[in-house]
């Protein structure tokens, strides 16, 4: 059995030798270079564009203005298409727009023979704008009279959804309840995959071939076709290895523009290689969500009634739309079930960069609010946060009416106990709560749950193809994509076990080429191992069936007593190996009696979902007068079911923890209030954490096999990024007694908070 073992990644050799080819590595040197002209105003209209000087730059091939391109709106979210128009994504993007809604919006494009000529031309294009007032804050944008981004959405509200459980208004009348009313704010952050977004396009036999650093090749194909209004089959999308995605590449970004320009230039090869600065401003970001929580609690810590309001900053276009805020809101009443709940989530357009999917999809924001809130309430009640948590957490047997997800095991307590033991939480939390002096330590904890895949909100299906070679090996193809997380390796392990051949006999076709790859919607929603598992198992069963029936022809043994084990046809009754799969496969192909190419292909539609659970514990040291937090130790504990590959699972967890460290302590896109421009659109000023900003990271697991999965597995891709920020924040609370309700908790915010709390005295100067 290979499932459950830490086998090396199938792509590791190529990656450590530098052979792995990413989009730019596949692009010949003579590609024409596309650079996008970006709006310098946050809200307005382009009145005119003078390109005469830019056209004169040697090497410039063509300039496209927003007035040149067809006015055809298309959606960009990497969601499965819905054949029901009511459930389709909002189509609000154009190839280029004369109505820029954020600094960095796409108003023109230069095509040149080289990047220097393209940059010079960009500089020389003169744009005349009509400028409108702009708004950067979601709640400001909801007010009457605020600048309106899209006529169809009054008060800039893209979406509003609610949850109502019990009777909140009645419940709060109970005597003796304690009311807590708090706000928690999260920043706009960016994915910062190290490979920027890049795509190329060329035409072949009248069709457009797009090679793109994307998580969602089949969706990209659909959107390119929609944007260009051409048959979907006229587009072919190739997804090679990609240098990270984290959700940013779960949007269709510039593939349509690249394809359009290619076609307009007669099908020549063009490349759009986005500079880091534009990856920051003009691809996608994480939604900044402000959460307002009101809780009515009995003195013993029982939640009687709770209310949550979420204001999600969508930025200028709909992208993934209201789904992100809705998902975050949905986590609240399930994590701590309470008989009386009112929730409202608003997704609001502003003149910020466009928010889309990012690892965790609304849950990191929600967990920052919900899990910070637990520690705040506990402190004021005089309870320990762990006692309050355990008293109210989703109980064993809890079932969600919508997703039908069930909490089958005691996962929460198992995860919390494991993490608490590792970090010595109870002792330290007690001891650290009574410190004086300038250097103080603290421990903090946060829990979370996460869904696996998108059923029942959207389609969940996976398709798989297995092709038997003469040597008894197989090619394994799925529509699900390798984006760095190790999906290919997990798929190979599952296929090896499901078919009954050695791991090295499974050749994963990593590249998705929509002409030949089975249909799959791609990497998102922590879905692939779960849904891919069904398709792999089902397809393996079909392949095995064909193999064993051919073995029956060759051996005349009944199929029922035959088996395929480790690449050999076995007679189960006496465990005799009758032939190797290689012998069978060669015979099957070349037989003069019965020649057949043994292959299998199937689609599995998944109509289930699964709760994935976990928590984080962090220990910090706070230097109060220096306003600095040093993270000393951190552990995440996950129950994502049975592990397919423990080493890769651990590595996934480390990466998510790292993202959470940045989210909690240092990362944020900053905006100039006067212009709306992003101030820190580069990796110097955007503070991604470095090797020196991390403690050693520990990944722990509780392996309760997920009953709905053939391999007992469920979500792990996104969950690791969810609980870290509130755990760190709660550790700072434990150390200092100061509630930091806005992340990142950077030195600037600590300075203000410590001044307010009287922990430091500001010096009077002059």
């Amino acid at each position: 059995m290979n499932v459950g073992k830490s086998v090396p990644r199938v792509d590791a050799y190529d990656k450590v030798t530098g052979r792995t080819q990413y989009t730019d590595d596949l692009c010949p040197g003579d590609a024409l270079v596309i650079r996008v002209l970006r709006s310098t105003v946050a809200n307005g209209r382009v009145l005119s564009m003078d390109i005469s000087k830019a056209q004169a730059v040697p090497g410039v091939v063509r300039i496209f203005t927003c007035f040149d391109v067809p006015k055809l709106a298309f959606p960009t979210a990497g969601h499965p298409w819905s054949t029901d128009p009511a459930h389709q994504d909002v189509a609000d993007r154009f190839l280029l727009t004369d109505r820029p809604r954020f600094c960095g919006d796409d108003i023109g494009a230069v095509v040149a023979e080289n990047e220097v000529a393209a940059m010079q031309a960009l500089r020389l294009i003169e744009v005349e704008y009509e400028e409108y007032p702009f708004v950067l804050d979601a709640q400001e944008a909801m007010k009457d009279g605020a600048p309106l981004l899209h006529e169809e959405f009054p008060n800039n509200v893209l979406g509003h959804s609610s949850i109502r459980i019990g009777n909140y208004e009645e419940a709060i009348k109970e005597e003796g309840l304690i009311r807590f009313d708090d706000w928690y704010d999260t920043p706009t952050v960016q994915h910062c995959h190290i490979e920027n977004f890049i795509c190329t396009a060329r035409m072949e036999n009248g069709r457009i071939v797009v090679t793109s650093s994307t998580q969602i090749p089949h969706i990209a194909r659909r959107v390119v076709a929609q944007a260009l209004s051409i048959p979907w089959g006229d587009v072919r999308v190739i997804k090679p290895y990609i240098g990270g995605g984290f959700g940013n590449k779960q949007d269709v970004l510039y593939e349509p523009l690249c394809a359009y320009i290619c076609r307009e230039l007669g099908g020549v090869l063009v490349k759009l290689d986005m500079p880091r600065e534009e990856t920051f401003t003009s691809t996608r970001v994480r939604h900044a969500i402000r959460n307002h929580i009101i809780s009515y609690v009995r003195p013993d810590g029982t939640f009687v009634a709770r209310k949550l309001e979420c204001f999600s900053n969508q930025g200028a276009y709909a992208s993934h739309g209201h789904g992100v805020a809705a998902k975050g809101m949905g986590a609240f009443p399930q994590l701590y079930p309470c008989p009386n709940v009112e929730c409202d989530a608003y997704t609001v357009f502003t003149n910020r960069p466009v928010a889309g999917a990012m690892r965790g999809y609304g849950i990191p924001q929600a967990m920052f609010a919900v899990e910070s809130n637990i520690d705040d309430i506990a402190l004021r009640l005089g309870m320990t946060p762990m006692a309050l948590r355990k008293k109210n957490l989703m109980p064993v047997g809890y079932t969600d009416g919508f997703s039908r997800n069930v909490n089958y095991y005691d996962s929460f307590n198992q995860c919390l106990d494991k993490g608490a033991e590792y970090i010595d939480y109870y002792r330290k939390h007690e001891e650290y709560s009574r410190q004086e002096g300038n250097i103080r330590r603290g421990v903090g904890c946060a829990a979370f749950w996460y869904n696996t895949a998108v059923w029942p909100i959207s389609l969940e299906s996976s398709s798989c193809r297995m092709v038997l070679n003469q040597d008894g090996s197989i090619q394994l193809q799925l529509g699900e994509t390798e984006i760095g997380q190790g999906a290919d390796t997990a798929f190979a392990q599952m296929a090896s076990d499901a078919v009954g051949i050695p791991l090295e006999r499974v050749h994963v076709v990593s590249c998705q080429d929509t002409d030949v790859a089975p249909f799959g919607t791609g990497a998102y929603a922590s879905r692939q191992t779960y849904v891919g598992g069904f398709a792999i198992k089902q397809t393996a069963d079909i392949l095995r069936g064909k193999i064993l029936s051919y073995a029956h022809e060759l051996t005349r043994m009944p199929v029922e007593i035959l088996d395929l084990v480790d690449g050999n046809i076995i007679r189960r009754t006496d465990n005799q190996a009758l032939m190797t799969l290689a012998e069978l496969a060669t015979t099957a192909l070349y037989s003069l009696d019965h020649s057949v190419h043994i292959t299998a292909e199937s689609t599995y539609q998944v109509k289930s979902n699964a709760y994935s659970f976990g928590c984080c514990f962090a220990e910090v040291e706070v230097d109060i007068s220096a306003c600095k937090v040093r993270l000393i130790d951190m552990i995440n504990v996950h129950d994502c079911g049975s592990l397919i590959n423990p080493q890769l699972a651990g590595a996934q967890v480390h990466g998510g923890m790292s993202m959470a460290i940045g989210y909690g302590l240092s990362e944020q896109l900053q905006f100039d209030p006067k212009t709306g421009r992003v101030l820190n659109d580069n990796l110097l000023d955007y503070k991604l954490s470095t090797t020196l900003d991390h403690p050693d990271l520990t990944a722990g697991f509780v392996e309760n096999p997920e009953p709905t999965s053939v391999f007992g597995t469920k979500a792990l891709g996104e969950p690791p990024a969810c609980p870290g920020a509130p755990a760190i924040r709660n550790a700072i609370l434990n150390a200092t007694g100061v509630s930091m309700n806005t992340i990142p908790v950077n030195p600037h915010r600590l300075f203000e908070a410590f001044c307010k709390a009287g922990l430091i005295n500001t010096k009077e100067v002059n």
Partner: protein
């Protein structure tokens, strides 16, 4: 008017010559003239370390190093670490064994910094290794397994603690 210059240098032990545009970075030259595509471009400003290569034994971000400066220098990239029959060097193998590879885009740059660390022959503490690797950004791994790979290889080469 484009200006060109001939650059003579040693690349991965082999004497090389290229005619380069004086405006080109070393990363441009290595990728375009020599197809050494392990040299990745992630930021163009020397912040991410994906284009890191060894020049005369020291690490440089080749995106902000002019190609013409490479004249007379010895350049090494990850491609040069692999043996004639595809054998991996110990540090490459350690990256695999420790699970230090995910999307792989930052990997070649990290490995070249590791080479500088290992070839110094010094025994660094874990914190010193962190510092030596601090010019690289990685969004996938949280650095944990990368640091483990470098530390273990160093200990193996120097003998002693594993």
């Amino acid at each position: 008017m484009t200006q060109y210059q001939v650059v003579h240098c040693t690349i991965n032990g082999k004497s090389c010559e290229a005619v380069v545009d004086v405006r080109a970075s070393l990363a441009d030259m290595l990728r375009n003239n020599f197809r050494l595509t392990s040299v990745k471009k992630g930021c163009g400003v020397g912040e991410c370390g994906a284009c890191n290569v060894l020049v005369d034994g020291e690490c440089f971000n080749s995106c902000i190093y002019l190609a013409v400066w490479a004249d007379g220098k010895s350049i090494r990239t990850v491609e040069g670490l692999t043996g004639p029959n595809g054998e991996l060097s110990d540090i490459q193998q350690a990256f695999i064994d420790e699970g230090a590879v995910q999307c792989g885009f930052c990997t070649p740059g990290f490995i070249m910094s590791a080479v500088e660390i290992l070839e110094s022959g010094k025994r660094y503490t874990r914190d010193e290794i962190r510092r030596q690797l601090s010019g690289h950004l990685c969004r996938c791994t949280g650095y944990e397994n990368i640091i483990n790979a470098v530390e273990k290889t160093m200990n193996r080469r120097l003998g002693g603690d594993e």
